[in-house]
């Protein structure tokens, strides 16, 4: 498989910061209040859940990690790079190294679930059509989407949509995946199954995962390395 392409500047930067933790929040004002700073380091292979109520600040963790919004203060480093400082086009290339499941699912409504899964693979790599097809078929099988792969998102139920969005998030085998409220509306078993599949890399290793949740779903407790309670924009305690 061909790795996602990047600009020479980005490639050089990534080489410089090789070995850095996948995700670091340093002194970040999640709620825009300078007296409430958030710190968190997610190491390689760690599965960290940030638990918080509405307006606790967990809503922006995913967007900050993906560089979709800049931090009001402090820095967010992804694989050692301050993501908010990357140019728009470097950011686009860099994001292909990350997986993201936005709140809801973010699936494209005019594509089938299979085409949604295929989109990042088709776009970000130089795979031949047959290779892309084989890769997507594998993902569809892994996430148990075969029977419903031809459906549009609006025709599928919430659990199927979430699994398709998760398959899309890991389609390029990223080393870091960010999941926003991924278990809302799912049964405990479905939540466990989803997290188990998302946290495994293609070579059988574990990938770093940050997920946000309103509570620590008991069924996923065994898969989570750390749970951080976020209150008023501050990481309060290890909630596991």
């Amino acid at each position: 498989m061909t790795a996602p392409r990047g600009s020479s500047v980005l490639t050089a930067e990534l080489a410089r910061v090789a070995g850095a933790p996948p995700l670091v929040y340093r002194d970040v004002a999640l709620l825009g209040r300078p007296d409430r700073r958030f710190d968190l380091v997610i190491g390689a292979g760690e599965v960290v859940v940030a638990i918080g109520d509405e307006n606790s600040g967990i809503e922006v963790l995913g967007k900050l990690a993906m560089g979709l919004v800049p931090p009001a203060s402090g820095t967010v480093e992804v694989f050692g790079l301050p993501i908010a400082e990357l140019s728009y086009y470097d950011l686009l290339v860099f994001r292909r190294r990350l997986g993201y499941l936005p709140q809801g699912d973010g699936l494209l409504q005019n594509l089938s679930l299979r085409d949604n899964v295929a989109l990042p693979v088709r776009f970000a790599t130089d795979h031949r059509l047959r290779e892309v097809d084989a890769k997507v078929t594998q993902l569809v099988e892994d996430f148990r989407l075969r029977a419903i792969a031809g459906l549009r998102p609006a025709q599928a139920n919430e659990e199927d949509r979430r699994r398709a969005a998760a398959a899309r998030a890991v389609a390029l085998d990223p080393k870091l995946v960010v999941l926003e409220l991924p278990f809302v509306g799912l049964t405990g078993r479905a939540a466990q199954d989803l997290l188990d599949r998302v946290s495994r890399t293609e070579d059988g290793g574990r990938r770093a995962v940050l997920l946000t949740s309103r509570e620590l779903t008991p069924s996923v407790r065994g898969l989570v390395t750390r749970a951080v309670k976020v209150v008023d924009g501050v990481a309060a305690e290890d909630a596991k």
Binding site: P4, L92, G106, L107, L119, P120, F123, A124, D126
Partner: protein, 243 residues
């Protein structure tokens, strides 16, 4: 709005310049779909309206011109009124009403449903996936539909002339006397500019939606109105340039 539109065009041009091989393949799939919807599915409607319009114009013209013995001016009416002016205008208006509305509504929905953000999060430039294929698709479609319009209008014009007793040879002679290579280039130029206007204004207003679903119909209205105004202004500019 002009500043925003200029930035929008600049982003689209930058996106086109950064298009990779894989990106071109993904764009091509969207482009083919866009042409199928905008051109292929509109051929029957464009053909039907072209036939009716040319039939009406030529029938009325023959009747009126015949009174003054000026039947040789039929070619001027056919070429100047139908082929040069009404054909491109009507074709563009059909595309705006069918595809312009769809483009604006789809883009606005993409924005409201968080799909644009999802594309950016996947490392996909929304201008490459959403805007460029629609721009190219609309240009190709409008230019193609204008050719279809002209072909059907010329044929229908003959039917109208024949019902008034004019022979094919005479009709062809009258029309060809007025028709020039410049008309072909003008049709092509109008196809490119009108098509670009449809995609540009409708995409711009669609993607400008911020608040929520209630803004979608407003975005569609803004996109369509802006496109219609732009098409009429461009028509006037083309007349000035061509004269």
């Amino acid at each position: 709005m002009v500043g925003g539109l200029a930035r929008f065009v600049l982003r689209a041009v930058r996106a086109a310049a950064r298009l990779t091989r894989a990106g071109r393949w993904v764009m091509l799939r969207v482009l083919i779909n866009q042409i199928r919807f905008t051109a292929l599915q509109a051929i029957a409607l464009v053909g039907f309206l072209a036939a009716i319009l040319a039939f009406l114009v030529i029938s009325q013209s023959i009747r009126q011109l015949g009174r003054f013995g000026a039947i040789d001016n039929l070619g001027t009416i056919m070429v100047v009124a139908v082929i040069r002016e009404l054909g491109p205008l009507l074709t563009a208006l059909i595309v705006v009403s069918r595809s312009g509305t769809a483009i604006a509504a789809e883009m606005a929905t993409n924005r409201v449903m968080g799909e644009v953000t999802a594309l950016e999060a996947m490392g996909i430039d929304p201008y490459i996936y959403l805007v460029l294929p629609r721009m190219l698709g609309a240009i190709v479609s409008v230019a193609t539909l204008m050719v279809v319009f002209d072909a059907v209008a010329l044929t229908s014009g003959f039917v109208a002339a024949a019902t008034s007793g004019m022979s094919l040879n005479r009709y062809t002679g009258i029309v060809l006397k007025t028709l020039s290579a410049g008309d072909v280039w003008l049709t092509l130029a109008k196809g490119i500019f009108f098509g670009a206007a449809v995609a540009l204004f409708c995409s711009y207003h669609g993607l400008a939606v911020k608040a929520g679903p209630t803004e979608i119909p407003q975005a569609v209205t803004r996109g369509v109105v802006a496109t219609i105004v732009a098409i009429f202004v461009m028509s006037a500019v083309f007349v000035v340039i061509a004269s």
